[in-house]
Each structure stands twice: as structure tokens, then as C-alpha cells.
Amino acid sequence: MRWIWIDRFVEFESGVRAVALKNVSLAEEHLHDHFPGYPTMPGSLMLEGMAQTGGILLGQKHDFEQIVVLAKVPKVSYERLIGPGETIRYEATVADDRPEGGTTAVTATVDGETVAEAEIMFAYLDKSDPAYGGVDQKNFVFESALMGAFEAGRGGSVAL
């Protein structure tokens, strides 16, 4: 399994807002355990999708020059359960941005109905800082296949 919790970007306004879609599918293994007989998209993975949308929005704003790390979720709320066959639309906007980090406000909707909202804070780490030299870049958003979701919005198709 790949740690990619958005499928594609459909709107992207650099430094302002980004919209990504997540199609929930019964092909996803975890839905069969969460819960047996009642497949439900885990709230934690919706939060991850919201963070990936917001993280790429902030990263792109700074030309992906820093390591963008999810640092804190000051606020998150869920309105209803989401199941297979539904498409979640994550809309992230930049709420704050400073040299040390930034915050995004993300709203998740399904067919126009709000299903979750979150405020997500990211810290920026300097790639050239020796303290982070040992960081495995593959674990980070911009070096991973997740960027395929970003490219998918541009070209229409992409090999992940």
C-alpha cells in the first residue's frame, strides 16, 4: 500500500488554495477491518488526506525548497461517516505562513455537504540543516509518489 490519501488535484491556486479529491473504494484493504460489515473511511486517514492537500499547497508556495512536516492539528471535527463509493473533496486554504511554518484550514465535503473540517499546522525544516541530514526524504511528501497526485491534476494521467 502507498501512503497516498488523495487521488488528484482539481484546482490549485498557488499560495492561496488547493482542492483535491479522494475516491473511497472497497478495494482499500482497511475498509474491511474498519469495520467488519460496516466499511467506514477512518477519520485519521481523512485527516491525512487533508494534511497532504494542505502540505502540498504550502510546499508549492515555497517551491518545495523546505521539508514540510505536519506538526500540530489544533482543531479537527467530523460531521458524518464516509463509506465506499463516495468522493471526498478536500479544499485547503493558507491561513498563516511564516518562515518557521504555516497553517492551513481544510474543509472536506461530499456532494457539497461538509463532512469534516480541520486546522493543520506545518513546520518547515531546512533541507541543508545538518540536524535533518539523516531524514529519509522518501517519507516526506514531496519526494514520494504523492507528488503524482499533484501532477495528475496537470496532465490528466500519471504513472505512480
Binding site: A71, K72, P74, A95, D96, R98, P99, E100, G101, T103, M121, A123
Partner: protein, 128 residues
């Protein structure tokens, strides 16, 4: 210009939201880390909220200076902050109670400079 009481009230709301503490825990003498459980990333969150609430800009390092006790700074000797270190703190953090730290200048006591009252002092100067 808001009064000190008004500033404290706003800061109380900010800390309740940022740190998930009860409002009666946010007393002027409470320390952000030891008493209110703040971690380093919370300082960034608090800075954002202060900027928004009071309509100010807080340059990096002005409210919460970084690397105060770095090994090569020359400001620390055998776990104790030197006179020059205390002088540096006084100039960098006029909003903090350095006199109290000077009475027991152990490095680990630096964290106790970050009190609710320190935030009130900082904002009071900033909005003046």
C-alpha cells in the same frame, strides 16, 4: 490601546485554544512549558494566534528567541548562564523577568522565562 487586563483576557483565550488548558490554569505566573504543557511547536501556534488577535507582526525569534543556550554561544558555563549570557537575555528579551532567572541562573531555568505575564508584557509593548 487595550489595558493589561484586556490583553491578559485575550491571551487566556489564545492559550486555552492552542494548548487545550482550562482558563483558570492561565494565571500570569504560569509557565508555558512546565505549567501549561506547551511544546516547541506550540510556540509557533501561539505566535500565529497573537498576530491575528492583536493585528501585529512578530518577527522570528523576537518573542521566543532560539538557541539561547547553544553550546558554542559562550553564554553558558558548566550548566550556568554567564553574566554575558544574562546581559544577552536582557537585551533580547526585555519582556521577560531576567532578574528572577539571575537569582538562580541554571540553564534549565530558561524555560521558566516563558510565562503568561511575559506574553502580556510583550504584547503591551507591541501595541503601544
Amino acid at each position: 490601546m487595550p489595558s493589561r487586563d484586556e490583553i491578559l483576557e485575550n491571551i487566556r483565550e489564545i492559550l486555552v485554544e492552542a494548548l487545550g488548558v482550562d482558563d483558570d490554569e492561565v494565571t500570569p505566573e504560569a509557565t508555558l512549558q512546565a505549567d501549561l504543557g506547551a511544546e516547541s511547536i506550540d510556540f509557533l501556534d501561539i505566535s500565529f494566534r497573537l498576530e491575528k488577535t492583536f493585528g501585529i507582526k512578530i518577527p522570528r525569534g523576537e518573542l521566543f528567541p532560539e538557541n539561547l543556550a547553544a553550546a558554542d554561544s559562550g553564554f553558558v558555563d558548566d550548566g550556568v548562564i554567564t553574566e554575558s549570557g544574562l546581559a544577552e537575555l536582557r537585551s533580547k528579551m526585555p519582556h521577560a523577568d531576567i532578574d528572577k532567572l539571575a537569582a538562580d541562573p541554571k540553564v534549565e531555568n530558561i524555560a521558566d522565562l516563558f510565562t503568561v505575564e511575559m506574553l502580556v508584557n510583550f504584547i503591551e509593548k507591541k501595541v503601544a
